[in-house]
């Protein structure tokens, strides 16, 4: 469990990125911070592994105040995946994945062995191990980034817009992969995005942020969709534009769902029982 207690971050230039922020991030769930630029979402994420220190307030992980922990040691036990993968361009794929275990003192051979297994985990062919990041596609680089984030087997995985720079098809693939990984590995994932669809797809808990790190609403995707607390949230999730306000219309070839502007958005099917899978 990660807990923010009245956290404020003011940067030297006077910008207040986050003001008096309180939140509990449950363990083994995915929490998504979503908001536009300036909402302080990345600052919040970076405060968890002390890349940024709060001006006031405290952050604790499983009851331990992070300000009492040594930043470098803390970062090595928290996985971190960033936009454009953040891979080290002069390390081969295998070395990138094994980075953190080697920093932690795991012998190189063993770290590389385990890194190969991680390539399997994230769905990468082992033949890519000896390539440099520049020799991979954007989607492959991002998978390597995820593998590196998982390498030290951290309980917490921080993801800063990890799929922001890849094309929509690859992004969809990576999102599905992440859901699968999360089901298998059961990490506490904190994910930052500006894409509300991504937030609803991945989040168990979604935190919608306004400028300055103000929480507009916290809840599960269905709670937020069913009852947006205010106009900002309604606007943000697209309810206002009618994107999510669907109605049934009968056509010659059957019933379809349309949005408020009358565009076809889907079809209605009988609910499948969850245990039928």
């Amino acid at each position: 469990m990660i807990e923010f207690r009245s956290v404020t971050k003011k940067f030297p230039d006077g910008t207040v990125a986050v003001r008096d922020f309180d939140l509990v991030i449950p363990s083994r769930k995915t929490t998504v911070f979503v908001g536009s630029s300036g909402s302080g979402k990345t600052t919040l994420l970076r405060m968890i592994n002390r890349m940024v220190d709060p001006t006031s307030g405290s952050i604790s992980i499983d009851g331990e105040d992070t300000s009492t922990l040594e930043p470098v040691a803390l970062r090595r036990r928290i996985g971190y995946v960033m936009q454009n993968s953040g891979l080290l361009p002069h390390f081969k794929v295998i070395e990138n994945v094994a980075t953190v275990p080697i920093l932690n003192g795991v012998p190189r051979r063993r770290a590389h062995q385990e890194a190969l297994t991680l390539l399997d985990t994230v769905g990468l062919d082992r033949s890519l191990a000896d390539r440099y990041p520049s020799q991979l596609s954007g989607g492959q680089q991002q998978r390597v980034g995820v593998a590196r984030g998982l390498a030290a087997d951290p309980n917490i995985l921080l993801m800063d817009e990890p799929f922001g720079a890849v094309d929509p098809i690859v992004r969809a693939e990576l999102q599905v992969e992440l859901i699968r990984l999360q089901r298998d590995l059961d990490k506490t994932v904190v994910f930052v995005t500006h894409d509300i669809d991504e937030a609803f797809l991945l989040g168990d808990q979604v935190v919608i942020l306004e400028t300055g790190g103000l929480i507009a609403q916290v809840g599960s995707p269905s709670e937020i969709m069913a009852a947006p607390t205010n106009e900002f949230v309604a606007n943000f999730i697209g309810a206002e534009r009618g994107k999510r306000a669907l109605s049934i219309r009968s056509t010659g070839s059957g019933d379809i769902l349309v949005d408020s502007s009358g565009r076809a958005a889907g079809i209605l099917v009988a609910p499948t029982a969850p245990d039928a899978e």
């Binding site: 970076r46 592994n49 890349m51 470098v72 040691a73 970062r75 090595r76 971190y80 960033m82 454009n84 953040g86 891979l87 080290l88 361009p89 002069h90 390390f91 980075t99 953190v100 920093l103 932690n104 390539r131 440099y132 520049s134 020799q135 991979l136 596609s137 590196r148 984030g149």
Partner: protein, 231 residues
């Protein structure tokens, strides 16, 4: 050509003298410039002051410098050490700026991500910042190398042996071939050292030449085509 053939041992001797002065000066300039360049890069206040004052070293005329150094360092006027110290100062004058620029050329996203996964500041410098600064450092040290090899000849004027002694001797004794040999050998030494630096760079920075998959595919296609032609 006769002169060259008759004086091969002398030419080799002078080339050896030349390398014994230039190579340590090049290495020392590189090593000493790294901490100074790091300071200039790391602390914003220091950048202007450090870079300008170090750069001004290059404006000191070489002959007076080689005469003043022995007084400060305590070496003899004709000791090669005297020359090595002077050349190192000139090398630093060029290399500190390159080092600061090289460290500044490292992608800040990569630096951030290295810190975020748990490199300590020290580890990040040695394993991330310095290697990634490599291409710009290499460009800088190549300039230093060429300039040092050429400046080494100045020592001949104060009696420190190098390929420059071939010019001074050639002038005094009016042997044109000796003068030309001195010039050609100096250029040759500069070229060879440059080549060695490029090769060291290639060996230490294998990721620079790493071929993208698209280029690899193109190369493979080209290879197949040429294979078909020869078959």
């Amino acid at each position: 050509m006769n002169w060259v053939a008759n004086n091969l041992p002398l030419i080799l001797q002078r080339t050896g003298d030349h390398l014994a002065i230039a190579v340590p000066a090049i290495i020392l300039s590189f090593v000493i410039s790294i901490p100074i360049g790091w300071v200039a890069h790391h602390y914003r206040w220091s950048r202007g002051t450090v870079l300008t004052s170090i750069g001004l070293l290059y404006a000191i005329p070489s002959l007076p410098l080689f005469i003043v150094i022995p007084l400060i360092v305590g070496t003899g006027l004709r000791s090669p050490v005297n020359l090595v110290v002077g050349l190192t100062l000139y090398g630093i004058a060029l290399m500190v700026r390159s080092t600061a620029d090289a460290l500044g050329s490292v992608d800040s996203n990569v630096e951030q991500s290295a810190s975020a996964v748990g490199f300590s500041a020290w580890q990040r410098f040695w394993r991330v910042d310095l290697p990634l600064a490599g291409p710009v450092l290499l460009a800088g040290i190549r300039v230093v190398s060429v300039s040092t090899v050429s400046l080494t000849t100045v020592g001949a004027v104060i009696g420190i042996s190098s390929l420059g002694s071939l010019f001074t001797d050639g002038f005094q004794r009016n042997i044109t071939a000796e003068i030309y040999t001195g010039i050609v050998m100096t250029i040759l030494v500069a070229l060879v050292l440059d080549l060695i630096l490029v090769m060291i760079g290639r060996a230490l920075m294998p990721w620079i030449g790493a071929v993208s998959p698209r280029r690899a595919a193109r190369n493979a296609r080209a290879a197949r085509r040429s294979g078909e032609v020869t078959a």
